[in-house]
Symmetry: C2
Subunit: 71 residues, 2 copies
């Protein structure tokens, strides 16, 4: 199966070692500005606020940056 | 291998039967507003202008919408 895991990092974080948000993701659909509906192969669905930093499909890793905190 | 093919559709196109832009894509990196650097498992790299409409990883399909033509 070719699903990916989604990880969340802070916008100012330099490395990609983020918190696991959802594993085994099959579908990602944009739901608006920096808002995504993601669905796993198990049918679990979550809404994710953030923007894509990078996708590494062969490594099964998609990295999202959380929205910047209000100043 | 878990790479995906990238297809391009017009913004006003309702179906997802787009033109193949690059196959066997491993990495996608945002390069700016609606600009992406995509790299295949063969090392081929292209710049893509558009926004993500949907990603279906198990089906190996990523659909991008081309930028809207100037009015």
């Amino acid at each position: 199966m070719c699903e990916s895991n989604i990880y969340l990092v802070s916008p100012d974080q330099e490395d990609d070692n983020g918190e696991l948000f959802l594993e085994a993701v099959d579908e990602l659909l944009p739901e608006g500005e920096n808002l995504w509906r993601v669905t796993s192969i198990f049918g679990e669905q979550k809404i994710l606020a953030g923007r894509i930093r990078s996708m590494h499909l062969v490594d099964h890793r998609i990295i999202f940056e959380r929205p910047a905190a209000p100043a």
